[in-house]
Amino acid sequence: MVRKGLIDRRTGLFLVVLFAVIVLIPLGNLLLAPGTAGHVPGYLLPLLGKYLCFALLAVSLDLVWGYAGILSLGHGAFFALGGYAMGMHLMREIGDRGVYANPVLPDFMVFLSYEKLPWYWHGFDMFWFACLMVLFVPGLLAFVFGWFAFRSRVTGVYLSIITQALTYALMLAFYRNEMGLGGNNGLTDFRDVLGFSLSDDSTRIALFVLSGLALAFGIILGRFITGSKFGMVLVGVRDAESRTRFLGYRVEHYKLFVFTVSAMLAGLAGALYVPQVGIINPGEFSPANSIEIVIWVALGGRCTLVGAALGALIVAAAKSWLTANFPEAWLFVLGAAFVLVTIFLPRGVIGLLDGLKPGGRHRHALPQAAPEPAE
């Protein structure tokens, strides 16, 4: 046997707290009167749900960056694609309740005088199809992109730069009205999902709980992958890629697999994000967004999964609070976080916590300085 446990202590602790939150908040809202302590106001639920989606997105990036050493600066693209797939379903579900009351065409298409639905919009009226696309579209893009990139052994910063170019190109494309996806404005004015109104507190609670479950699923899946021999090979690829090759491992297949899985998780996060914030637009593709994901992971502590989730929660909460209270300060804080974390906190908050306990160093932990490539 000797397979290391699927859930280590740290992950277990995180999951317990997560489950407690997604059970207690709905329970509190069910039992307690609005306005009392313990009853979370309806407007706050989507915000909390949003944080959980970001946490899942961070976990997906940690899977490729922390473990396989692939620093994707385009993970926001997979998130946005998942979001658009869900957004397209929500658009179709508006039906004839739009401003122009067209039963088939969403408002923006009527406005742009479309004659009929573009081919790629077909099928999105079915929820199951949209869910399939939420995973399939980001997965396919990651697979095709990764197929070429990993086969030609594009690594390191070169890979980072072209992933950034990828999301930039997608952003420009989605800004075009000709894409048939709402151009500048994106997709918005959603009414309901599966017949439940998006403005009902009960729907909000359900989405919040689903986001929490998705995050838990992402972490457990990540643990399963990284805890296996496959995960060890990934770490091997990160630390000494050529050694892994000379041992007979097809490095490009390993990378491709984890990259695709990661993109699908990011797509899932995007799909849960869209009904909670009520809009998806091309801004989600902006390269700056994708780099922000990286600081979540770095701040929390990469190569730990829960660290990434924690980092996302911390940064997202800080962003909400700062942009509301000190809007000018936000970019200073974010910029300083990038600088300070990379120089003084290479193992993130989790590494800091580990450092407090003797012998708490995690296996697979990052080396203090990246080893030089074995050549």
């Binding site: 070429f148 990139a149 086969r151 594009v154 170019a165 190109a169």
Partner: protein, 534 residues
């Protein structure tokens, strides 16, 4: 034969209406209502022959049917408006003579033949104007109208013309008019040749319908000429695209060449490069503000003053970044990427807090405004200046890296750090200076870009991705690769734009580079040597 024609018309003009010629313009105008239409046509010809500028207005009024004779005294008036709104003007001076009582005047009638005579007369008058630019404009107008009725006038004007370029234009107009007539096919084929030599869109408009001519000889010649003009137009369009491409390429080169040093030569990712460009642009803005406030006379020198300042500001920040941050992260490129991105956010927000989020106005010095015409393409001076500036900066860098002790040390450090240190080179200092140099060049780029782009805190963000792609596409570590990549991408982009639209062209270029890097991860011109292969 062709040369005889204008001579003949001139002779007719000179000797035909001889009695009328000797009379004054005023007297001639009074004769307009008299006689048959053909008599009046003779009078019109005589009026044109006076070459009196004032006659143009008279003939125009006649052609429009606005010329009236007052019943009371037989005076000739120009009348505009109808009924109670009718007003009279002196046809020669344009002076207003007050309202016209109903039925107090009779309009001078014109038929088609007379209208032709009027048009011909006006052509003569304008073509014979004493101002050559007016004559040229008239010739060009005549070319466009291609009116066979003006043939006589054109011939006469051509015979009298002294200015070579105007004469050429008149001859072309004559050819165009001839083509619209039913003259001898051989003559018309010759005219096609004249029109073809003119080229351009006007010529195309004259020749295109002739391809359907019933005379095979003419149809053939016209088709050949049209094809020839279209070829030449396509060539000019290509030239224009190349020019736009060079212009875009020079911008890309300026933006990327600093990265070519920090990323290409040192191997350090500087995501704040775009913000250093932005700081260069803001330095230009501040310099211009100070000059406007204290020494407005120096405004034309503002860019020359701003350039070294921008180099120092951006370079200084670069040195500070290297010493404070990048130095601690050597050998960890991904971490460097993140830390410098953090710096870029801080710089952006600083500028936003100090100068505000909106665009700031940076002026063009007078010597950079304007444009000149090269063949059929327009060359704007600011773009030309930027191309030259980019080339100068690039050449300066090459000289600095290849021909100076600093460049030698820099190359020594990047190629073999321990050995360079052994030889007594202060590697830390060289690192800082090299990084500062790359940053300073970004500042210079900012000075140039402030002339053509919006100066806002977001300026840098729009260049950073392009810059990296240029460096990677060209092959990191090779400044000539950056050069080739910048210009080829610029030109490709501008050739795609007319076909695909600006945004789609940009997307296509991005996708192309993404695919290209995957095919050749080391770019167009990879660093050579075994060390790289390993």
């Amino acid at each position: 034969m062709r040369r005889l024609l204008p001579l003949l018309t001139l002779l007719c003009l000179a000797f035909g209406p001889l009695p009328a010629l000797s009379q004054s313009l005023e007297a001639l105008i009074r004769q307009l209502p008299e006689g048959s239409f053909s008599d009046r046509a003779e009078v019109v010809a005589a009026i044109a022959a006076t070459l009196d500028e004032r006659a143009v207005g008279v003939l125009e009024a006649l052609g429009e049917g606005d010329l009236h004779q007052r019943k009371a005294d037989g005076a000739i008036l120009k009348v505009t408006g109808r009924g109670s709104k009718a007003r009279a003007f002196d046809p020669l001076t344009g002076e207003e003579l007050g309202p016209v009582p109903a039925r107090s005047t009779t309009a001078i009638k014109v038929n088609n033949a007379l209208r032709r005579a009027v048009r011909s007369g006006i052509a003569t008058l304008t073509l014979m104007h004493r101002d050559p630019t007016r004559r040229l404009a008239a010739a060009n107008a005549a070319f466009q109208s291609a009116d066979p009725d003006q043939l006589e006038a054109l011939g006469a004007a051509l015979a009298a013309e002294q200015d070579a370029s105007v004469a050429e234009a008149i001859a072309q107009a004559q050819a165009a008019a001839l083509l619209a007539s039913d003259a001898d096919p051989a003559l018309r084929v010759e005219a096609i040749e004249t029109v073809r030599a003119r080229g351009g869109r006007d010529a195309l408009a004259v020749l295109t319908p002739l391809r359907a001519s019933e005379v095979p000889l003419i149809a053939e010649a016209a088709a050949a000429a049209v094809a020839e003009i279209e070829r030449s137009q396509a060539m000019w369009a290509r030239a224009q695209n190349v020019w736009f491409g060079l212009s875009l390429g020079s911008v890309l080169l300026l933006a990327a060449v600093g990265l070519g040093i920090t990323f290409g030569v040192m191997g350090v990712i500087n995501m704040a490069h775009g913000e250093l460009i932005m700081l260069g642009a803001y330095t230009t803005f501040v310099t211009q503000e100070l000059i406007r406030g204290h020494a407005p006379g120096l405004f034309d020198w503002s860019l020359a003053i701003a350039a070294p300042l921008a180099f120092l500001v951006a370079g200084g920040i670069g040195v500070a970044m290297e010493r404070g941050i990048v130095r601690h992260l050597y050998g960890r490129p991904l971490e460097t990427l993140l830390a410098t991105w953090g710096v870029s956010l801080i710089l952006q927000q600083t500028v936003r807090s100090v100068f505000g989020p909106t665009n700031r106005e940076v002026g063009n010095p007078s010597w950079m405004s304007g444009a000149f015409q090269l063949g059929e393409m327009t060359v704007t001076l600011n773009r030309l200046t930027i191309i030259l500036f980019a080339l100068v900066v690039f050449a300066g860098l090459l000289v600095l890296l290849r021909r100076t002790p600093f460049g030698l040390r820099m190359r020594a450090v990047t190629q073999n750090r321990p050995m360079a240190a052994e030889m007594g080179i202060r590697t830390g200092w060289i690192d800082a200076m090299t990084f500062g140099l790359g940053a300073g060049v970004a500042g210079l780029a900012g000075v140039a870009l402030s002339q053509i782009d919006n100066v806002s805190p977001n300026l840098g963000q729009s260049y950073i991705i392009d810059s990296f792609l240029v460096v990677v596409f060209g092959g990191a570590g090779n400044l000539w690769g950056t050069f080739a990549a910048a210009f080829s991408l610029g030109i490709v982009n501008k050739f795609l734009e007319p076909v695909a639209g600006a945004v789609l062209a940009k997307i296509l270029v991005l996708v192309f580079i993404i695919l290209f890097i995957q095919k050749r991860p080391r770019g167009l011109f990879p660093q050579r040597g075994r060390a790289v292969e390993a």
